[in-house]
Symmetry: C2
Subunit: 201 residues, 2 copies
DNA sequence: ATTAAGTTAATAAACGTTTACTTAGTTAAC
DNA sequence: GTTAACTAAGTAAACGTTTATTAACTTAAT
Protein backbone atom coordinates (compact mmCIF):
# COMPACT_ATOMS: atom_id res chain seq x y z
CA UNK A 1 0.00 0.00 0.00
CA UNK A 2 1.13 3.50 -0.76
CA UNK A 3 1.99 5.89 1.98
CA UNK A 4 -1.10 7.35 3.54
CA UNK A 5 -1.44 11.05 3.05
CA UNK A 6 -4.00 13.45 4.34
CA UNK A 7 -6.55 14.51 1.82
CA UNK A 8 -5.02 17.92 1.22
CA UNK A 9 -1.53 16.51 0.72
CA UNK A 10 -2.74 13.80 -1.60
CA UNK A 11 -4.71 16.32 -3.56
CA UNK A 12 -1.65 18.47 -3.91
CA UNK A 13 0.52 15.55 -4.92
CA UNK A 14 -1.96 14.54 -7.58
CA UNK A 15 -2.02 18.05 -8.95
CA UNK A 16 1.76 18.18 -8.99
CA UNK A 17 2.16 14.95 -10.92
CA UNK A 18 -0.72 15.72 -13.23
CA UNK A 19 0.82 19.04 -14.07
CA UNK A 20 4.12 17.67 -15.32
CA UNK A 21 2.43 14.89 -17.25
CA UNK A 22 -0.18 17.10 -18.88
CA UNK A 23 2.50 19.62 -19.70
CA UNK A 24 4.56 16.89 -21.27
CA UNK A 25 1.99 15.15 -23.41
CA UNK A 26 -1.21 17.12 -23.35
CA UNK A 27 -4.63 16.11 -22.13
CA UNK A 28 -5.23 13.21 -24.48
CA UNK A 29 -1.67 12.02 -24.23
CA UNK A 30 -1.92 11.19 -20.55
CA UNK A 31 -3.91 8.31 -19.08
CA UNK A 32 -5.39 8.45 -15.62
CA UNK A 33 -3.62 5.20 -14.83
CA UNK A 34 -0.32 6.80 -15.68
CA UNK A 35 -0.86 9.60 -13.20
CA UNK A 36 -1.86 7.08 -10.57
CA UNK A 37 1.07 4.78 -11.10
CA UNK A 38 3.49 7.70 -10.94
CA UNK A 39 2.02 8.47 -7.55
CA UNK A 40 2.32 4.82 -6.57
CA UNK A 41 -1.39 4.75 -6.02
CA UNK A 42 -4.40 3.12 -7.58
CA UNK A 43 -6.38 5.10 -10.12
CA UNK A 44 -9.44 5.05 -7.92
CA UNK A 45 -7.70 7.40 -5.52
CA UNK A 46 -7.87 10.17 -8.10
CA UNK A 47 -11.62 9.87 -8.06
CA UNK A 48 -11.73 10.48 -4.35
CA UNK A 49 -10.29 13.89 -4.97
CA UNK A 50 -11.49 14.86 -8.42
CA UNK A 51 -14.79 14.03 -10.08
CA UNK A 52 -13.22 13.37 -13.48
CA UNK A 53 -10.07 13.57 -15.53
CA UNK A 54 -11.33 16.73 -17.15
CA UNK A 55 -11.97 18.34 -13.77
CA UNK A 56 -8.45 17.44 -12.71
CA UNK A 57 -7.10 19.01 -15.85
CA UNK A 58 -9.10 22.13 -15.18
CA UNK A 59 -7.76 22.38 -11.65
CA UNK A 60 -4.21 22.03 -12.87
CA UNK A 61 -4.88 24.98 -15.12
CA UNK A 62 -6.33 26.96 -12.23
CA UNK A 63 -3.37 26.11 -10.03
CA UNK A 64 -1.02 27.43 -12.66
CA UNK A 65 -3.03 30.60 -12.93
CA UNK A 66 -2.94 31.11 -9.18
CA UNK A 67 0.82 30.52 -8.93
CA UNK A 68 1.44 33.11 -11.59
CA UNK A 69 3.13 36.11 -10.15
CA UNK A 70 1.66 39.46 -10.88
CA UNK A 71 4.83 40.62 -12.52
CA UNK A 72 3.23 43.74 -13.83
CA UNK A 73 2.26 45.03 -10.41
CA UNK A 74 5.61 44.06 -8.97
CA UNK A 75 7.51 45.94 -11.64
CA UNK A 76 5.33 49.00 -11.36
CA UNK A 77 5.74 49.35 -7.61
CA UNK A 78 9.02 51.20 -7.92
CA UNK A 79 8.27 53.62 -10.72
CA UNK A 80 10.93 54.27 -13.27
CA UNK A 81 11.22 55.07 -16.94
CA UNK A 82 9.47 52.84 -19.48
CA UNK A 83 12.55 50.89 -20.55
CA UNK A 84 13.61 50.00 -17.02
CA UNK A 85 10.15 48.98 -15.92
CA UNK A 86 9.69 46.87 -19.02
CA UNK A 87 13.01 45.14 -18.51
CA UNK A 88 12.31 44.51 -14.85
CA UNK A 89 8.90 43.01 -15.38
CA UNK A 90 10.05 40.88 -18.26
CA UNK A 91 12.87 39.48 -16.16
CA UNK A 92 10.47 38.65 -13.34
CA UNK A 93 8.17 36.97 -15.79
CA UNK A 94 10.99 35.05 -17.45
CA UNK A 95 12.40 33.79 -14.19
CA UNK A 96 8.98 32.61 -13.13
CA UNK A 97 8.65 30.66 -16.36
CA UNK A 98 12.19 29.31 -16.01
CA UNK A 99 11.39 28.13 -12.50
CA UNK A 100 8.34 26.28 -13.74
CA UNK A 101 8.44 25.70 -17.49
CA UNK A 102 5.46 23.36 -17.39
CA UNK A 103 3.46 26.50 -17.00
CA UNK A 104 4.23 27.75 -20.47
CA UNK A 105 4.17 24.39 -22.12
CA UNK A 106 0.80 23.46 -20.77
CA UNK A 107 -0.53 26.84 -21.69
CA UNK A 108 0.51 26.43 -25.30
CA UNK A 109 -0.55 22.82 -25.49
CA UNK A 110 -4.00 23.38 -24.13
CA UNK A 111 -4.59 26.31 -26.41
CA UNK A 112 -3.53 24.30 -29.42
CA UNK A 113 -5.57 21.32 -28.31
CA UNK A 114 -8.48 23.69 -28.30
CA UNK A 115 -9.73 23.49 -24.75
CA UNK A 116 -12.29 26.27 -24.60
CA UNK A 117 -11.30 27.20 -21.07
CA UNK A 118 -7.64 27.37 -21.91
CA UNK A 119 -7.83 30.01 -24.55
CA UNK A 120 -9.14 32.72 -22.28
CA UNK A 121 -6.65 31.70 -19.65
CA UNK A 122 -3.88 31.80 -22.20
CA UNK A 123 -4.71 35.21 -23.54
CA UNK A 124 -5.15 36.79 -20.14
CA UNK A 125 -1.69 35.62 -19.24
CA UNK A 126 -0.01 37.80 -21.84
CA UNK A 127 -2.64 40.44 -22.05
CA UNK A 128 -1.28 42.45 -19.14
CA UNK A 129 2.02 42.63 -20.97
CA UNK A 130 0.58 43.85 -24.22
CA UNK A 131 -1.72 46.20 -22.38
CA UNK A 132 1.14 47.77 -20.51
CA UNK A 133 3.11 48.24 -23.71
CA UNK A 134 0.18 49.64 -25.59
CA UNK A 135 -0.70 52.00 -22.78
CA UNK A 136 2.86 53.20 -22.28
CA UNK A 137 3.47 53.73 -25.94
CA UNK A 138 0.40 55.86 -26.37
CA UNK A 139 1.56 57.93 -23.47
CA UNK A 140 5.13 58.19 -24.76
CA UNK A 141 4.07 59.10 -28.25
CA UNK A 142 2.26 62.12 -26.81
CA UNK A 143 5.57 63.23 -25.36
CA UNK A 144 7.21 62.34 -28.67
CA UNK A 145 9.46 59.90 -26.85
CA UNK A 146 8.74 57.20 -29.38
CA UNK A 147 8.09 57.58 -33.09
CA UNK A 148 4.72 57.01 -34.70
CA UNK A 149 4.44 53.27 -34.42
CA UNK A 150 1.34 51.16 -34.07
CA UNK A 151 1.35 50.28 -30.36
CA UNK A 152 -0.63 47.15 -30.97
CA UNK A 153 1.88 45.85 -33.45
CA UNK A 154 4.68 46.68 -31.05
CA UNK A 155 2.91 44.72 -28.34
CA UNK A 156 2.64 41.73 -30.62
CA UNK A 157 6.30 41.96 -31.46
CA UNK A 158 7.28 42.07 -27.84
CA UNK A 159 5.06 39.18 -26.87
CA UNK A 160 6.37 37.12 -29.76
CA UNK A 161 10.01 37.63 -29.05
CA UNK A 162 9.61 36.93 -25.34
CA UNK A 163 7.59 33.82 -25.93
CA UNK A 164 10.10 32.60 -28.49
CA UNK A 165 12.97 33.11 -26.09
CA UNK A 166 11.22 31.29 -23.26
CA UNK A 167 10.14 28.54 -25.57
CA UNK A 168 13.60 28.01 -27.00
CA UNK A 169 15.40 28.15 -23.67
CA UNK A 170 12.97 26.60 -21.21
CA UNK A 171 11.07 24.07 -23.28
CA UNK A 172 13.09 23.06 -26.31
CA UNK A 173 16.42 23.70 -24.59
CA UNK A 174 17.62 24.58 -28.04
CA UNK A 175 21.34 24.26 -28.48
CA UNK A 176 21.32 27.33 -30.69
CA UNK A 177 20.91 29.64 -27.71
CA UNK A 178 22.83 27.61 -25.19
CA UNK A 179 25.64 30.08 -24.83
CA UNK A 180 23.48 32.97 -23.62
CA UNK A 181 21.78 32.74 -20.28
CA UNK A 182 18.13 33.59 -20.07
CA UNK A 183 18.43 36.92 -18.22
CA UNK A 184 21.09 38.09 -20.66
CA UNK A 185 18.98 37.00 -23.58
CA UNK A 186 15.97 38.84 -22.19
CA UNK A 187 18.04 41.94 -21.57
CA UNK A 188 19.30 41.91 -25.13
CA UNK A 189 15.82 41.41 -26.49
CA UNK A 190 14.34 44.24 -24.47
CA UNK A 191 17.18 46.42 -25.73
CA UNK A 192 16.36 45.46 -29.29
CA UNK A 193 12.72 46.18 -28.67
CA UNK A 194 13.46 49.65 -27.38
CA UNK A 195 15.49 50.24 -30.52
CA UNK A 196 12.58 49.00 -32.56
CA UNK A 197 10.14 51.52 -31.15
CA UNK A 198 12.93 54.11 -31.18
CA UNK A 199 12.58 54.77 -27.52
CA UNK A 200 14.98 57.27 -26.00
CA UNK A 201 14.93 57.84 -22.29
CA UNK B 1 -21.38 2.65 -49.92
CA UNK B 2 -19.11 5.62 -50.36
CA UNK B 3 -18.11 6.86 -53.75
CA UNK B 4 -15.41 4.76 -55.31
CA UNK B 5 -12.15 6.57 -55.79
CA UNK B 6 -8.97 5.40 -57.38
CA UNK B 7 -6.25 4.50 -54.96
CA UNK B 8 -4.26 7.69 -55.49
CA UNK B 9 -7.29 9.91 -55.06
CA UNK B 10 -8.44 8.09 -51.96
CA UNK B 11 -4.98 8.30 -50.51
CA UNK B 12 -4.90 12.01 -51.15
CA UNK B 13 -8.34 12.51 -49.68
CA UNK B 14 -7.34 10.64 -46.54
CA UNK B 15 -4.25 12.79 -46.17
CA UNK B 16 -6.28 15.95 -46.66
CA UNK B 17 -8.83 15.07 -44.00
CA UNK B 18 -6.21 13.72 -41.62
CA UNK B 19 -4.25 16.93 -41.93
CA UNK B 20 -7.05 19.21 -40.81
CA UNK B 21 -8.06 16.88 -37.99
CA UNK B 22 -4.54 16.33 -36.69
CA UNK B 23 -3.88 20.03 -36.96
CA UNK B 24 -7.03 20.69 -35.00
CA UNK B 25 -6.66 18.26 -32.14
CA UNK B 26 -3.26 16.66 -32.29
CA UNK B 27 -2.33 13.04 -32.75
CA UNK B 28 -3.97 11.67 -29.64
CA UNK B 29 -7.00 13.88 -30.04
CA UNK B 30 -8.10 12.26 -33.28
CA UNK B 31 -9.54 8.78 -33.60
CA UNK B 32 -9.11 6.73 -36.73
CA UNK B 33 -12.86 6.29 -36.84
CA UNK B 34 -13.29 10.03 -36.90
CA UNK B 35 -11.10 10.39 -39.96
CA UNK B 36 -12.97 7.57 -41.65
CA UNK B 37 -16.41 8.92 -40.90
CA UNK B 38 -15.45 12.35 -42.16
CA UNK B 39 -14.53 10.69 -45.42
CA UNK B 40 -17.79 8.77 -45.37
CA UNK B 41 -15.82 5.57 -45.43
CA UNK B 42 -15.20 2.66 -43.13
CA UNK B 43 -12.08 2.73 -40.99
CA UNK B 44 -10.66 -0.31 -42.71
CA UNK B 45 -10.15 1.75 -45.85
CA UNK B 46 -7.44 3.71 -44.10
CA UNK B 47 -5.56 0.51 -43.54
CA UNK B 48 -5.57 -0.26 -47.24
CA UNK B 49 -3.53 2.86 -47.78
CA UNK B 50 -1.52 3.28 -44.61
CA UNK B 51 -0.07 0.60 -42.37
CA UNK B 52 -1.00 2.39 -39.16
CA UNK B 53 -2.32 5.58 -37.65
CA UNK B 54 1.19 6.62 -36.77
CA UNK B 55 2.36 6.08 -40.36
CA UNK B 56 -0.53 8.21 -41.59
CA UNK B 57 0.48 10.93 -39.20
CA UNK B 58 4.03 10.73 -40.42
CA UNK B 59 2.94 11.04 -44.04
CA UNK B 60 0.85 14.08 -43.23
CA UNK B 61 3.95 15.67 -41.79
CA UNK B 62 5.95 14.76 -44.88
CA UNK B 63 3.28 16.17 -47.15
CA UNK B 64 3.41 19.44 -45.28
CA UNK B 65 7.16 19.54 -45.58
CA UNK B 66 6.99 18.93 -49.31
CA UNK B 67 4.38 21.63 -49.90
CA UNK B 68 6.51 24.17 -48.13
CA UNK B 69 7.78 26.77 -50.48
CA UNK B 70 11.44 27.58 -50.48
CA UNK B 71 10.76 31.19 -49.68
CA UNK B 72 14.39 31.93 -49.02
CA UNK B 73 15.49 30.94 -52.49
CA UNK B 74 12.57 32.78 -54.04
CA UNK B 75 13.40 35.99 -52.25
CA UNK B 76 17.09 35.80 -53.04
CA UNK B 77 16.60 35.36 -56.75
CA UNK B 78 16.25 39.08 -57.37
CA UNK B 79 19.00 40.48 -55.21
CA UNK B 80 18.34 43.64 -53.31
CA UNK B 81 19.30 45.26 -50.04
CA UNK B 82 18.88 43.33 -46.82
CA UNK B 83 15.66 45.04 -45.72
CA UNK B 84 13.86 44.50 -49.01
CA UNK B 85 14.90 40.88 -49.32
CA UNK B 86 13.88 40.19 -45.74
CA UNK B 87 10.49 41.77 -46.24
CA UNK B 88 9.91 39.94 -49.49
CA UNK B 89 10.74 36.53 -48.13
CA UNK B 90 8.75 37.06 -44.98
CA UNK B 91 5.71 38.04 -47.01
CA UNK B 92 6.06 34.93 -49.16
CA UNK B 93 6.38 32.81 -46.07
CA UNK B 94 3.42 34.48 -44.38
CA UNK B 95 1.15 34.09 -47.34
CA UNK B 96 2.02 30.42 -47.60
CA UNK B 97 1.08 29.98 -43.95
CA UNK B 98 -2.09 32.00 -44.41
CA UNK B 99 -3.06 29.83 -47.35
CA UNK B 100 -2.65 26.70 -45.27
CA UNK B 101 -2.65 27.46 -41.55
CA UNK B 102 -2.85 23.78 -40.60
CA UNK B 103 0.78 23.72 -41.54
CA UNK B 104 1.86 25.91 -38.66
CA UNK B 105 -0.59 24.53 -36.18
CA UNK B 106 0.40 20.96 -36.76
CA UNK B 107 4.02 21.91 -36.61
CA UNK B 108 3.60 23.46 -33.21
CA UNK B 109 1.34 20.74 -31.92
CA UNK B 110 3.58 17.90 -32.91
CA UNK B 111 6.61 19.57 -31.41
CA UNK B 112 4.81 20.13 -28.14
CA UNK B 113 3.42 16.63 -28.15
CA UNK B 114 6.99 15.50 -28.43
CA UNK B 115 6.99 13.50 -31.63
CA UNK B 116 10.66 12.77 -32.20
CA UNK B 117 10.37 13.26 -35.94
CA UNK B 118 8.56 16.53 -35.60
CA UNK B 119 11.17 18.45 -33.75
CA UNK B 120 13.80 18.25 -36.45
CA UNK B 121 11.17 19.05 -39.02
CA UNK B 122 10.00 21.98 -36.97
CA UNK B 123 13.40 23.49 -36.47
CA UNK B 124 14.49 23.12 -40.05
CA UNK B 125 11.44 25.05 -41.09
CA UNK B 126 12.58 28.24 -39.41
CA UNK B 127 16.26 27.61 -39.52
CA UNK B 128 16.70 29.03 -42.99
CA UNK B 129 15.17 32.24 -41.74
CA UNK B 130 17.42 32.59 -38.76
CA UNK B 131 20.40 31.52 -40.79
CA UNK B 132 19.77 34.18 -43.37
CA UNK B 133 19.43 36.84 -40.72
CA UNK B 134 22.50 35.73 -38.86
CA UNK B 135 24.55 35.57 -42.04
CA UNK B 136 23.38 38.94 -43.31
CA UNK B 137 23.94 40.67 -40.02
CA UNK B 138 27.49 39.44 -39.76
CA UNK B 139 28.10 40.75 -43.23
CA UNK B 140 26.41 44.08 -42.53
CA UNK B 141 28.23 44.61 -39.27
CA UNK B 142 31.50 44.40 -41.16
CA UNK B 143 30.30 47.29 -43.28
CA UNK B 144 29.07 48.99 -40.11
CA UNK B 145 25.57 49.03 -41.56
CA UNK B 146 24.14 47.64 -38.35
CA UNK B 147 25.30 48.27 -34.82
CA UNK B 148 27.00 45.68 -32.67
CA UNK B 149 24.14 43.37 -31.94
CA UNK B 150 24.20 39.67 -31.32
CA UNK B 151 22.98 38.24 -34.65
CA UNK B 152 21.69 35.12 -32.97
CA UNK B 153 19.53 37.10 -30.61
CA UNK B 154 18.26 39.16 -33.50
CA UNK B 155 17.33 35.98 -35.36
CA UNK B 156 15.40 34.76 -32.36
CA UNK B 157 13.58 38.04 -32.11
CA UNK B 158 12.62 37.95 -35.74
CA UNK B 159 11.45 34.38 -35.62
CA UNK B 160 9.42 35.06 -32.50
CA UNK B 161 7.63 38.08 -33.81
CA UNK B 162 6.80 36.43 -37.13
CA UNK B 163 5.54 33.30 -35.49
CA UNK B 164 3.46 35.31 -33.06
CA UNK B 165 1.88 37.28 -35.87
CA UNK B 166 1.06 34.17 -37.86
CA UNK B 167 -0.23 32.42 -34.79
CA UNK B 168 -2.46 35.30 -33.76
CA UNK B 169 -3.84 35.96 -37.22
CA UNK B 170 -4.01 32.53 -38.84
CA UNK B 171 -4.66 30.20 -35.95
CA UNK B 172 -6.24 32.06 -33.06
CA UNK B 173 -7.88 34.64 -35.33
CA UNK B 174 -7.40 36.95 -32.43
CA UNK B 175 -9.76 39.88 -32.42
CA UNK B 176 -6.98 42.08 -31.09
CA UNK B 177 -5.29 42.21 -34.50
CA UNK B 178 -8.38 42.01 -36.64
CA UNK B 179 -8.07 45.52 -38.01
CA UNK B 180 -4.67 45.01 -39.61
CA UNK B 181 -4.31 42.67 -42.54
CA UNK B 182 -1.54 40.14 -42.45
CA UNK B 183 0.71 41.67 -45.13
CA UNK B 184 0.44 45.07 -43.44
CA UNK B 185 1.18 43.55 -40.09
CA UNK B 186 4.22 41.76 -41.48
CA UNK B 187 5.43 44.93 -43.17
CA UNK B 188 5.14 46.84 -39.91
CA UNK B 189 6.94 44.12 -38.02
CA UNK B 190 9.81 43.94 -40.49
CA UNK B 191 10.09 47.71 -40.22
CA UNK B 192 10.27 47.46 -36.46
CA UNK B 193 12.86 44.75 -36.74
CA UNK B 194 15.06 46.88 -38.99
CA UNK B 195 14.78 49.64 -36.40
CA UNK B 196 15.75 47.15 -33.73
CA UNK B 197 19.00 46.19 -35.41
CA UNK B 198 19.48 49.81 -36.40
CA UNK B 199 19.71 48.97 -40.04
CA UNK B 200 20.16 51.83 -42.46
CA UNK B 201 20.13 51.12 -46.15
C1' DA C 1 -15.23 2.50 16.85
C1' DT C 2 -15.63 5.52 13.58
C1' DT C 3 -13.85 7.61 9.77
C1' DA C 4 -10.72 8.79 6.32
C1' DA C 5 -7.46 6.76 2.85
C1' DG C 6 -6.40 3.30 0.05
C1' DT C 7 -7.05 -1.31 -2.51
C1' DT C 8 -8.79 -4.73 -5.69
C1' DA C 9 -11.66 -5.88 -9.11
C1' DA C 10 -14.98 -4.80 -12.19
C1' DT C 11 -17.49 -1.89 -15.68
C1' DA C 12 -18.73 -0.02 -20.18
C1' DA C 13 -17.07 2.55 -23.73
C1' DA C 14 -13.52 3.85 -27.06
C1' DC C 15 -9.51 2.82 -29.17
C1' DG C 16 -6.46 0.87 -33.16
C1' DT C 17 -6.54 -2.93 -35.98
C1' DT C 18 -7.85 -7.28 -38.50
C1' DT C 19 -10.81 -10.45 -40.67
C1' DA C 20 -14.14 -12.26 -43.79
C1' DC C 21 -17.03 -10.76 -47.04
C1' DT C 22 -19.44 -7.78 -50.88
C1' DT C 23 -19.73 -4.88 -54.72
C1' DA C 24 -18.12 -1.98 -58.63
C1' DG C 25 -14.95 -1.73 -62.62
C1' DT C 26 -11.96 -3.63 -65.94
C1' DT C 27 -10.32 -7.01 -69.06
C1' DA C 28 -10.24 -10.92 -72.10
C1' DA C 29 -12.54 -14.97 -74.38
C1' DC C 30 -16.03 -16.41 -76.94
C1' DG D 1 -21.31 -7.51 -77.76
C1' DT D 2 -22.00 -10.64 -73.93
C1' DT D 3 -20.44 -12.83 -70.42
C1' DA D 4 -17.03 -14.90 -67.40
C1' DA D 5 -12.87 -14.03 -64.69
C1' DC D 6 -10.21 -11.07 -62.25
C1' DT D 7 -8.94 -6.91 -59.69
C1' DA D 8 -9.68 -2.97 -56.90
C1' DA D 9 -12.46 -0.49 -53.39
C1' DG D 10 -15.34 -0.73 -49.84
C1' DT D 11 -18.16 -2.76 -45.80
C1' DA D 12 -19.58 -4.74 -41.43
C1' DA D 13 -18.41 -6.84 -37.46
C1' DA D 14 -15.41 -8.26 -34.18
C1' DC D 15 -10.80 -8.56 -32.27
C1' DG D 16 -7.88 -7.53 -28.11
C1' DT D 17 -6.41 -3.42 -25.57
C1' DT D 18 -6.72 0.57 -23.24
C1' DT D 19 -9.44 4.01 -21.44
C1' DA D 20 -12.16 6.46 -17.73
C1' DT D 21 -14.93 5.43 -14.09
C1' DT D 22 -17.40 2.87 -10.20
C1' DA D 23 -18.39 -0.35 -6.50
C1' DA D 24 -17.33 -3.16 -2.65
C1' DC D 25 -13.94 -4.23 0.46
C1' DT D 26 -9.70 -3.39 3.65
C1' DT D 27 -6.59 -0.99 6.45
C1' DA D 28 -4.62 2.58 9.32
C1' DA D 29 -5.24 6.76 12.44
C1' DT D 30 -7.55 9.37 15.80
Amino acid sequence: MAKRLKAAERRASILAVAKVLFADKGYHGVAVDEIASRLGVSPAVLYHHFPSKEALYGEVLDTLAAQRESYVDAALQSPDDFGSVLLRMTLVFASSVARDPDYLKMEMLSTLEGAQVARQFFESHWKSFSDYIEYSMRELSQQNAVSQINPRTAGLMFQGMVREALYAKCILHSSRYQSTHLPDLITQLVGLFLNAIQYKE
